[in-house]
């Protein structure tokens, strides 16, 4: 499945680029994401917790930088992960491009997502919507990060991407599972995106 998303952050391109390659900072912007301090052979390990209504699922995975083009401000990553509990897996090839936009930076993300298990099989029709919600939260946090505002203090245990509440109740379980699938592909990919 190919997904395309974009958002604009109110920061110049140079700064955005540097932040996006600085993993700890990116991880802070991603709700529910944690990464390990070091990489092994260029692969970065991390986890991501996504909460949809009453269901919280954790994913574990790694990411590898495929190409980074400083001049074009394009970076590609190969990300893979699996449910910490369960049989589902996800892999994603994520290509991100930065462009200047009205004093800020436009971030265009193209994701080729390959999800297996329940997440792939249920609720596929909602994937784009959940991607939007995910990126909305991410870009808001990233913007605060770029503006130098301190991140909201959240305990590790509580921090999770929460796509719950009304959305969950109206969309039902398929949406939950789908968001989980998406989470790993997009969000975890994002976490590891900047790390090098």
């Amino acid at each position: 499945m190919k997904l395309s998303n974009e958002f604009v952050v109110a920061a110049p391109i140079e700064r955005t680029w540097n932040v996006l390659l600085d993993v700890p900072r990116v991880a802070r912007a991603l709700p529910g994401a944690r990464i390990e301090a070091d990489s092994a052979d260029g692969a970065w390990r991390g986890t991501m917790k996504i909460k949809l209504g009453p269901v919280t699922t954790e994913y574990a995975g790694s990411a590898r930088l495929q190409d980074v083009d400083e001049d074009e401000r394009v970076a590609g990553f190969f990300v893979q992960g699996h449910e910490a509990r369960g049989q589902g897996t996800a892999t994603a090839t994520i290509t991100s491009r930065l462009a200047e936009a009205d004093g800020g930076t436009r971030v265009l993300v193209e994701t080729d997502l390959r999800v297996t298990g329940r997440q792939a099989q249920l609720g596929r029709g909602l994937m784009q919507d959940v991607a939007g919600a995910l990126l909305g939260e991410f870009s808001a946090r990233l913007e605060r990060e770029l503006a130098g505002e301190p991140p909201e203090e959240v305990g590790e245990a509580e921090d999770a991407l929460d796509v719950g509440g009304a959305a969950f109740r109206s969309l039902g379980e398929p949406a939950v599972l789908l968001a989980l699938g998406l989470g790993i592909g997009l969000a975890l990919g994002r976490v590891l995106w900047g790390r090098r």
Binding site: M1, E83, R85, G86, Q87, G88, T89, R114, V115, T116, G117, R118, A120, Q121, L122, G123, R124, G125, G172, P174
Partner: protein
């Protein structure tokens, strides 16, 4: 006559598989492959988990079970690729069982299943049957000079069609309960299945156990539509788990599992060539059929494409025909019989081609059909089917009369009318029945043919009661227990009334004869003078005997016959909204010739249900996979069944051409609606679109795209 079983079933008193909870029962859940195709390199069971009883992998089953058998098919080459109970080495579809977990509850079993670690090396999935390089089935038949007729033809119509895979979606999903008595070496097996016979035969083969050491019980079953005819691999695993743990083990799948792992229907493509003279005489038919069989051959996976091939000449007298079937291996759950099971595909392929021919020749498609319809019976087809009886033209006339072709003046809506005719292979082989007089004078009939929603309890009792001149309630029917009912073949292929009903009729005839004989002795009369009546038997001198006094008398009968051939004509009027491509089916006329009808209400119910499923196939149903072989229609959110709101006006009628092959004159009505509807609606859509081609499901998106080509 209304279904007498409904009061019980509709008020929640039915006992379905998951209602069975014997003391000490443990529950089974499966670890299923998340990949469509992969090598399994390691399966690691958790050492402990809450409520965990046992974990079974292919290694534990090694040497004590066999894969499911493959039913041989005459004239076909079948690959030796049977479905394993649990995957060893490779998996061939997402959802294939890899390990089984037994725990104290289904929830705990599912939790423990999440802890089983499986290492996979993903392999490239094969999603498209035409692109697959592996044949699981090959079949080819030629009769007459096809090449010569094609070369000499004034017109040759060439069309390609594709019918998506469909999910049977019974209201009750699959399930089984197994319990093993080691002392008596008796395995008891309850299964949500179409019949006991195939469950028993296949389980005996899988476990390599004598059949008399297995007791199969089929409780109330909430539908199957073909998808519960074969033994489920998971059900076989439940029996091994019961033997291992010494506890009753139940597997009751959830809807997601049913979408992933219950075998599906259709999934066929065809390239069809029809040769005609300028006058419209059909001279030859040639077809190549590609069937998307999935990862393995289940026992009856090969049957639907073979049926399609055999019925490709439909209800027409075509002297020469050649059909080749390639049943391809793909990385999907296997296919198998689903309501119609090859017949809807055949009807769709030939009927759409006939309408295309009419368009090409500039003639009325109805007239083109009339010109070529088979009118003399019995009729032997090029491939050797013997159509026993029929009146195809009468079906066609009635369908057109009922549907009221055309209509609509709104320029924003395109209206089309289409016809779809069909011939259905039904019946065949044998069934048996026992009949006995009970101490209270009622007649108990044990039938080898068992119901899973069809209404056997009413229809078969009706056959017996009418013959014995008894009230319906004086006949008690018994089904679905291998320890008490006689052996038979099974409930499938619209064969219950034709074969099973005929066996019931024979059994009660036999019983009646025995009663008369006994009465003659007891009343000291000659058999000729004994009269059978509503109130019992009477002798010439006026002395009478009630059935109660003949309690204990019993009779058995077996009925066997060649295949019978039901037929029908369906017609549909549709309307397509030009701006959006939205299709509305306005009217459907369903005319079926199922020979003599025993119970018109039940027969019409079968037609309505089959038509609804056929319309679902036309409007919304399509099982789909992504390019990696992941099923993306694995819930009712993504796989849309027809709802009452989409049901058009449906008019039904029966033509009754009795079959000479059974005493009831019956044929088969269970599948007609599902067979005739897609062909009729497909042709109506083509008519509305001026002949442009679209295959089902006729979604707004597809129709809108075609409309943009104007």
């Amino acid at each position: 006559m209304a279904r007498r079983e409904d009061a019980r079933l509709l008020s929640g008193l039915g006992r379905y598989l998951d209602d069975l909870d014997p003391p000490g029962v443990a529950h089974l859940a499966f670890v299923r492959s998340p990949y469509a195709r992969a090598r399994v390199t390691r399966v690691q069971a958790p050492e402990r988990a809450p409520g965990l009883v046992a974990v079974l992998t292919a290694a534990e089953l090694e040497g004590r079970s066999r894969p499911l058998p493959i039913i041989p098919l005459e004239g076909a080459e079948l690959a030796e690729e049977p479905h394993p109970l649990l995957a060893a080495g490779e998996v061939h579809y997402a959802g294939q069982p890899v390990a089984a977990v037994v725990a104290e509850s289904r929830a705990l079993a599912e939790d423990a299943a999440e802890l089983v670690e499986v290492d996979y090396e993903p392999l490239d999935a094969v999603v498209d049957a035409r692109e697959s390089e592996v044949d699981l089935l090959r079949w080819r038949e030629e009769s007459g000079d096809v090449a010569g007729a094609l070369a000499a033809a004034d017109v040759v119509i060439r069309r390609s069609y594709s019918l998506p895979r469909l999910v049977a979606a019974p209201m009750e999903t699959r399930g089984a309960l197994a319990s093993y008595d080691a002392g008596g070496d008796l395995l008891s097996f309850w299964s949500s299945a179409q019949d006991t016979h195939r469950q028993l035969a296949q389980l005996a083969q899988v476990l390599d156990r004598p059949e008399d050491s297995i007791h199969v019980i089929v409780p109330d079953v909430g539908g199957a539509f073909g998808s519960k005819g074969n033994l489920a691999p998971e059900a076989a695993v439940a029996t091994l788990a019961a033997i291992d743990t010494g506890r009753p083990v139940k597997w009751a799948e959830d809807r997601h599992e049913n979408f992933l792992a219950a075998y599906q229907g259709r999934g066929m493509e065809a390239d069809v060539e029809l040769a005609l003279t300028a006058d419209g005489d059909m001279t030859a038919l040639r077809a190549s059929i590609y069937a998307d069989l999935g990862g393995y051959l289940l026992p009856s996976t090969a049957i639907p494409p073979h049926t399609t091939a055999m019925l490709m000449t439909g209800c027409y007298s075509i002297p020469a025909a050649e059909v080749e079937v390639r049943g391809r291996r793909t990385s999907k759950v296997p296919t198998g019989p689903y309501r119609g099971a090859g017949r809807p595909e055949a009807a769709y392929f030939i009927e759409r081609t006939v309408e295309a021919a009419a368009r090409e020749l500039g003639t009325d498609p109805v007239e083109l059909r009339r010109r070529n319809l088979i009118r003399k019976f019995p009729h032997s087809t090029p491939f050797g089917f013997n159509y026993d009886s029929g009146n195809y033209e009468r079906c066609l006339d009635l369908a057109l009369e009922l549907v009221e072709p055309g209509g609509g003046t709104d320029p924003e809506r395109l209206v089309g009318t289409g016809v779809g005719m069909y011939v259905e292979r039904a019946g065949g082989r044998w069934e048996a029945a026992d009949a006995a007089i009970e101490p209270d004078g009622r007649v108990r009939v044990r039938s080898s043919s068992s119901p899973h929603g069809q209404g056997h309890d009413t229809a078969f009792a009706q056959v017996a009661a009418e013959r014995l001149e008894l009230a319906l309630d004086d006949v008690v029917m018994e089904f679905g227990d291998s320890a008490t009912v006689p052996r038979g073949v099974g409930t499938f292929g619209s064969r219950s009334m034709t074969v099973g009903g005929s066996a019931v009729l024979r059994a009660v005839d036999e019983l009646k004869e025995k009663c008369v004989g006994a009465a003659a002795r007891l009343l000291e009369s000659s058999e000729e003078d004994v009269r059978w009546g509503r109130d019992g038997l009477s002798a010439g001198d006026g002395r009478t005997l009630s059935l109660r006094e003949l309690a204990g008398l019993e009779a058995s009968a077996r009925f066997e016959s060649d295949l019978v051939f039901a037929a029908g004509a369906y017609a549909a009027v549709v309307e397509i909204e030009r701006a959006t491509g939205r299709l509305r089916v306005l009217r459907v006329a369903a005319v079926d010739d199922a020979g003599r009808i025993v119970n018109p209400l039940l027969a019409e119910g079968q037609v309505i249900g089959g038509t609804a499923q056929g319309l679902g196939e036309c409007l919304s149903e399509e099982a789909d996979w992504d390019e990696y072989g992941q099923p993306v229609t694995a819930s009712f959110a993504d796989y849309s069944l027809l709802t009452a709101a989409e049901m058009p006006q449906l008019r039904t009628a029966f033509v009754e051409s009795p079959s000479p092959l059974n005493p009831l004159g019956a044929k088969g009505i269970g599948e007609g609606g599902a067979i005739g509807t897609p062909a009729a609606v497909g042709n109506a859509v083509a008519d509305a679109l001026g002949g442009r081609h679209v295959d089902p499901p006729f979604t707004e998106e597809k129709l809108w795209q075609v409309l943009q080509e104007e």
